[in-house]
Symmetry: C2
Subunit: 209 residues, 2 copies
């Protein structure tokens, strides 16, 4: 029924109106993927959609914006029923960074707060992994793409040693369950399935409030 | 990275392995809706899938199984990116029931715990709403269908005056946002958008644990 629900449990309250930008992004990306399976089109048009989402702050629930003292966290925000895409909040504590890793699927990275560096890597003649090109610095509102086609092996770092940075990532799969790899500089390749840092995702579907 | 995440927030912990039946149901229903838009097929094959889900108990998070002392609650479990379907846990406290209402889209109701009665209604010659046929009693594992085609106006009641009952519902839309109606026995029709009782939905997408 339409009665307002009281607090039901230990789960913190969200303000549904705040979540509208994320809901609209999910709906628009879903329509894009209904229309095309072409990676170049998905990256180009998805980049525009994600840029709109990260052009505004205020929609990310606080519980999914908290850094961990020891390592970065990846909070699932939405996963598609059929595994066509997932949306993830990456929260970087001061100085935190990923190992060198791949994705195996297309991905878009939109900067929400702070800044981060993305450094591409390639395998050298001796088998080791070495930086390819200059690091890219992402500022709030900017979006970068990764994929096996456009470049898939990179390392991402918080650009700040003294503050949290947050980026919103979109991938062409349920990324937390994808079998992919971490690369050591000595050339070793380690199997990697990331999982997620959160047990609950925001209910972005209640537009009655 | 693959480091196990510590408790991150006030959000209660879920056991990801427990959520596998719900994840698999969502994936299977998504494939069914990729394959057909025919309501009769969706209801027939969806009924089989939902019957499998409610044949087992133990996967519904406790936070989404708690009755409210005054009224029933509807907890969103999953919504499809494109609004093709939603999955909802209905929790009935002792003696609780819905008003007479419609759905406007196809729906499947699978009994998980306890039992409920569903009574169809029709408009009489004098404009009032009167019961149509006998109430249907749903026992755990059983599934019933509703839709504008097969019968869309009903009232649902907990069959028990002294215990909680829970049914799992699937609808062909984001049901909490659908504009539909509540019907009074005197013939009055009242606009109705249900919303949801929960701000957080379970993360069913982490299969690494
Ligand atoms: Fe990456
Ligand atoms: Fe109903
Ligand atoms: Mg489709």
């Amino acid at each position: 029924m339409s009665h307002p629900a009281p607090p039901t449990s230990p789960l913190p309250t969200l303000v549904p109106a705040d979540l509208a930008p994320l809901r609209q992004f999910v709906q628009q990306l879903s329509r894009l993927l209904d229309d095309t399976g072409d990676e170049a089109q998905i990256l180009a048009q998805g980049q525009t959609l994600l840029a709109e989402l990260v052009a505004q702050d205020g929609w990310l629930p606080d519980a999914l914006a908290q850094p961990h003292p020891q390592h970065y966290r990846q909070f699932l925000l939405h996963a598609d029923s059929g595994g066509r895409f997932s949306v993830v909040s990456f929260v970087w504590g001061p100085g935190q960074r990923t190992p060198i890793h791949d994705h195996t699927v297309w991905g878009l990275i939109g900067m929400l707060r702070g800044a981060e560096y993305s450094q591409n890597f390639q395998r050298a003649a001796d088998g080791s992994f070495i930086p390819a090109g200059e690091p890219v610095r992402l500022e709030p509102g900017q979006v970068e793409a990764v994929s096996p086609t456009v470049g898939d092996i990179h390392q991402v770092s918080n650009a700040f040693a003294d503050r949290t940075s947050i980026s919103i990532h979109v991938y062409g799969a349920n990324i937390g369950a994808v079998r992919r790899s971490v690369y050591r500089e000595d050339g070793t390749v380690v199997p990697f399935i990331s999982g997620y840092s959160n047990h609950w995702v925001p209910n972005i579907w209640d537009d009655t409030h």
